[in-house]
């Protein structure tokens, strides 16, 4: 059967994924919905830019992220009406943190939320959305080597934050490590 509008259909199908990625980016459901809407608009206006044979969701994530970066940049240059600089708790300089989220998500989700922006987004793309390193590198516009070093750092931080330490006895010595203790590894 010939699908009359596969692009639109797929866009709708990926809305939950786009929303999840956007929520993680800006840590606010309201902002995320606006972001996803803007991304869909841009995607629909640029359908010819999608390369067949590549992952549609990766393409969409890239649009979402670029719009978000634009948004942050504009906010930074737009002056003090949002006062983001004073909100020290918002690493991502995002408008409003959805407080209720903090209570409904589990500790792993919270730990992911608390990661630095660049580490959080890469965990989302690779671990949660199953993009390959190469695809993630394309979304983030960084070399694949940077994807790997950032992703490894992110996961070690996450593991430390939630106490993942598989295969090893949880001794006091292990617990005493901190994330800056790079010397332990090598």
């Amino acid at each position: 059967m010939i699908e009359t509008d596969p692009f639109g259909k797929q866009l709708v199908a990926f809305l939950p994924n786009l929303r999840r990625f956007a929520i993680s980016l800006c840590r606010s459901r309201d902002l995320a919905d606006d972001l996803v809407q803007a991304a869909c608009e841009r995607a629909l206006a640029n359908t010819e830019r999608f390369e067949p044979g590549t992952r549609f969701d990766a393409w969409l994530f890239r649009i979402v992220r670029n719009l978000w970066i634009d948004h942050i940049r504009r906010q930074r240059t737009a002056g003090p009406q949002e006062d983001i600089e004073q909100r020290q708790d918002l690493v991502g300089a995002c408008g409003e943190r959805d407080v209720e989220v903090r209570f409904t998500l589990n500790s792993v989700a919270q730990a992911i939320t608390d990661l630095p922006d660049d580490q959080r987004e890469i965990i989302l793309l690779v671990c949660v959305e199953d993009l390959s390193y190469r695809e993630a590198a394309g979304v983030l516009d960084i070399p694949i080597g940077t994807v790997m070093s950032r992703l490894a750092r992110a996961r070690k931080n996450l593991a430390e934050a939630v106490g993942i330490n598989p295969g090893l006895p949880r001794s006091p010595v292990m617990k005493g490590e901190n994330r800056n203790d790079k010397m332990r590894v090598c």
Binding site: I2, D5, L15, P16, C40, R155, A159, I164, L168, V185
Partner: protein, 260 residues
């Protein structure tokens, strides 16, 4: 002691199935408990991250958003000419929305992973036996062909539970299936009275039953509980080319034939 031959990036790529074969083979060769646990960290963080954010995917998309996107789609469709539409029909080879499966894992990471969990399994009652050799990927041999576990594996029908002889531990047979090589395998769980649940797969060969996969899901008091148990199992089953579970009748017949 921590070994330093492999960078975190390399071990992570191994866990994610993104490593070239040669390096992957080198890691397998060098795989020892310390490296296995480092790899396991990356396996575990991936699974836990995915699991933690899974619920967000199940949230209904707000009407306001879905309606406005649908409106934009409709408008775009009106604007587009028919020939354009046929061109766009190429855009169909997407993955399913909720693709929960891990990417195909490195062909044989699962054995090293199992190795990293051996210590935990040892603590669980002595059904399992050490490796025949580090290099022989035959899994853990079940201690003795007439051991309680061997006996149970040959008798308990899937869906049923039994108490392992000589203990208070319970075995729950989950399914029987053939792996990619045609060996008869059984997925089962063992609950010990005061410990955790071991989720395991054992396959039968000429030498009897061997445990090829085992993860422990400990109680959730303080420490972390590996959310990866079932996903690790899924990955293992996918990696070994496991077939669909046998029907009750086929299972009974297959188990009978083992005893002969």
């Amino acid at each position: 002691m921590i070994r330093c031959e492999f960078a975190d990036e390399t071990l992570m790529a191994f866990a994610d199935g993104e490593l070239d074969d040669a390096t992957a083979a080198a890691i397998e060769k060098a795989m020892q408990s310390d490296i296995a646990s480092r790899v396991a960290l990356f396996l575990e963080t991936r699974v836990q991250a995915k699991e933690a954010l899974g619920p967000v995917l199940d949230e209904p998309v707000p009407d306001r958003l879905s309606q406005s996107v649908q409106r934009m789609i409709d408008e775009a469709r009106r604007r587009s000419v028919p020939s354009d539409a046929s061109e766009r029909a190429h855009v169909v080879a997407f993955r399913a929305r909720d693709n929960r499966a891990m990417p195909r894992p490195q062909a044989s990471w699962i054995m090293p992973l199992a190795a990293s969990l051996v210590a935990v399994v040892f603590g669980c009652g002595g059904y399992f036996f050490g490796f025949a050799s580090q290099n022989q990927p035959h899994g853990l041999e079940v201690a003795g062909q007439d051991s309680p576990l061997s006996e149970a594996l040959g008798q308990v029908a899937s869906g049923e539970e039994a108490v392992l002889a000589g203990s208070t531990d319970r075995i729950r047979a989950v399914a029987t299936f053939r792996d990619g090589a045609g060996s008869l395998c059984r997925e089962f769980e063992i609950d010990s009275a005061n410990r955790s649940t071991v989720i395991s797969v054992a396959c039968h060969s000429n030498h009897g039953w061997a445990v090829n996969f085992a993860v422990v899901a400990p109680a959730r008091d303080g420490g972390y509980a590996p959310a990866s148990s079932s996903e690790a199992l899924d990955s293992y089953l996918a990696a070994t080319g496991a077939h669909e579970p046998l029907s009750r009748e086929d299972e009974a017949a297959a188990l009978r034939s083992l005893g002969q």
